[in-house]
Each structure stands twice: as C-alpha cells, then as structure tokens.
C-alpha cells in the first residue's frame, strides 16, 4: 500500500532493475509480489533472489524493489 501510494505521488519515478539479466523499468514502490504477478509468474512455481539473497515466498508482498537491484526468478524444468 505504502509503495503504491509513493508510486502515485511520484508518478514518473521509475527504477532500473535487472531481472534475469535484462534491465527493466519498474515503478517505484513495486513489491516482489506485484512484479511477479504482473509478469505472469505463478508464485508456487518460482523462487526469487534479489542481489543473491533468496526472498522467502511469505515475504513477497512486503519486499520492495530498489533501483539497481539484480533479480533472479527461477523455476524447474526437465533434468536428469
């Protein structure tokens, strides 16, 4: 909520965040949960690292993205 309020107030404020190696513009105040849901990920199928630290699933709604963050979103695929 706080994040959304800030984003509204500083409407043009964008963050540069690197997600899986690609730099993206993200609205200030965006949480991990907001990001992964808007990008179409299923929370129960992924794990998220921000700057090499795992973000526990239970905290996605509370952790905000910051300018310059490096985010990895991973999931399972077939493997031996």
């Amino acid at each position: 909520m706080h994040g959304a309020f800030r984003a509204q107030r500083f409407g043009a404020c964008k963050l540069k965040v690197k997600v899986n190696g690609k730099v993206e513009d993200v609205a200030a105040g965006t949480t991990i949960l907001q990001y992964v849901e808007s990008a179409g990920y299923r929370v129960d199928r992924i794990a998220v690292e921000v700057n090499r630290n795992i973000v526990p699933k239970s905290t996605y709604a509370n952790v905000g993205l910051h300018d310059g963050d490096s985010v990895e979103i991973v999931s399972f695929c077939g493997g031996g």
Partner: protein, 261 residues
C-alpha cells in the same frame, strides 16, 4: 506372488522410505510423455533442473508430475560448490523438498563431475538439513569424503552422462558397494534395461536413468522395461546369485548311470 524378502525391501533416503528403486530423470521429454513415463517406471523419485524462468512458469513441469512423487532437484549448471549450494537453496524454496542431487561439472566435453567441489557442497548442504545425493566419479576415497560430509547416498556414474554406454566403471562401482555403508545409486550412462539389471544384481541400491528412456523409440514402454529390469536385478541380488565354476561343468541332473549299468 512376491516373497517376504522383496515386499519388505525398502530404499531409505533421509527420513523417507521408497518401494521403487528406479529414479527417473525428467530431461529431454515432451511434457506429455513425462507422466506416462513416471507411471510406467513406477518411479517415486523424479529429478528436475533449475533454470531462469523466462516463460512465466506456465506449462510448468510440476503440473505433469504426480503429487505423490518425491522431487529431487539437481544442481546441474553448477561449476563449483558455491554455485551448487546456491541452486540447492533456490530449489528448496520452490518445492519445499529437502532432497538434492549435487552435480558439479566444469568439463563440457565429457561432463565429468568434480568430486572435490561436490564433497564441499555436500558438507554445506547436509549441515543445512538437506538430504544430499552426490553425483560423482566412482572413487573410493572421494566416496568416503562424501560419507563423512553427510551424504545420504552415493551416486557413481556408470559412463559419461547421456552416453547410453552402460557400466564402464563396473569394477569401481562394485568397490563402492562393498566398502561404503550408504545406498549406492548408479547414475548416468545406463543405456539398456540389462545394464540397469546388472547394476542391481551387483548390489546397487537403485538406478537412475533419463536419456535411455527419453531417447527410446517408445518412451513409456522403455520406462516399463527398466522398471522390470531393476526389480529383477534387485530380487536376484536378494536371492543371492548362484556360484560360477572356474573350470569344467557341473551337471544339473542326477547322474544315475541308468543307460550304462
């Protein structure tokens, strides 16, 4: 009818017991075939790999694996212990499974595992409560290192990954079976049901296969053939193989001399 010995025979890894001794890999299949392969294999443990999620996680492999199956993420892609530990932690965050197959490879030609880095990752992850299943080159000293580091089993390779060449390391796997007091699970290179059966006859606790099934002409049928071979090999091991005579022959029939006396 199954004998009492085989019905009570369980594979124990961490705090779980398994009836199946066939660990199935999930690589190189179409998603539609995975379910049939798992069913026909009777597999209770299936391996997975971790990668960047670029597809939004839709058509996810987890949707094709029955809930009753224990997920065994691997650390493929890791080139050292640190990367393997990172992948293991991320994998546990997705699926909640403590099981991890450690795979540390920095040789892209032969894809041989680095036993030293694997032992380091094993120690770190075992201390974090993982059920660690290290994939390794079958070396007795390194296997002892894995055991001391807290490994739940040892996974020696039969031959290079994906080669379908079978038990090229047979003698060294036998040494591990004889000397290491942990389940020895033959992984990598097993190409035919007969090779899987042979590994089980030798006393391997389980066999893991992927390419042999995924590259077969009929995937579900090959999964079934491997299941039967692994069961046959296990039963034969428990039954204790008959002896081999070094010279000459020994008649199976009573020699009564009926026609000569």
């Amino acid at each position: 009818m199954q004998s009492k010995e085989t019905t009570q025979d369980k594979l124990v890894l961490g705090n779980k017991e398994f009836d199946s001794r066939f660990i199935l890999g999930s690589g190189k299949y179409s998603l539609e075939l995975i379910k049939a392969a798992i069913e026909n294999a009777g597999a209770q443990i299936v391996t997975l790999a971790l990668r960047r999620a670029n597809d939004g996680g839709l058509a996810n492999i987890l949707d094709y694996i029955p809930d009753t199956v224990t997920l065994l993420p691997n650390t493929s892609g890791a080139r050292n212990a640190e990367e393997a530990v990172r992948i293991a932690r991320l994998s546990r965050e997705i699926c909640g499974s403590d099981f991890i197959k450690i795979e540390v490879i920095h040789d892209s030609k032969y894809l041989l595992p680095d036993n030293y880095e694997t032992a380091k990752a094993t120690e770190t992850l075992a201390n974090e409560g993982f059920v660690v299943m290290p994939y390794m080159y079958p070396d007795l000293n390194a296997a002892r290192d894995m055991q001391n580091a807290g490994a739940a089993c040892i996974m020696p390779l039969g031959s290079p990954i994906g080669s379908n060449k079978g038990l090229a390391t047979r003698e060294f796997i036998q040494i591990l079976i004889d000397e290491i007091d942990l389940p020895i699970i033959v992984d990598a290179g097993i190409g035919r049901p007969s090779q899987a059966c042979e590994a089980m006859e030798m006393g391997a606790a389980a066999v893991m296969a992927n390419t042999a099934i995924a590259t077969a002409g009929n995937v579900p049928a090959m999964a079934e053939a491997f299941r039967k071979a692994i069961e046959a090999g296990r039963t034969a091991y428990l039954a204790k193989l008959g002896r081999v005579v070094s010279k000459g022959a020994v008649a199976s029939d009573p020699l009564t001399g009926f026609l000569q006396d």
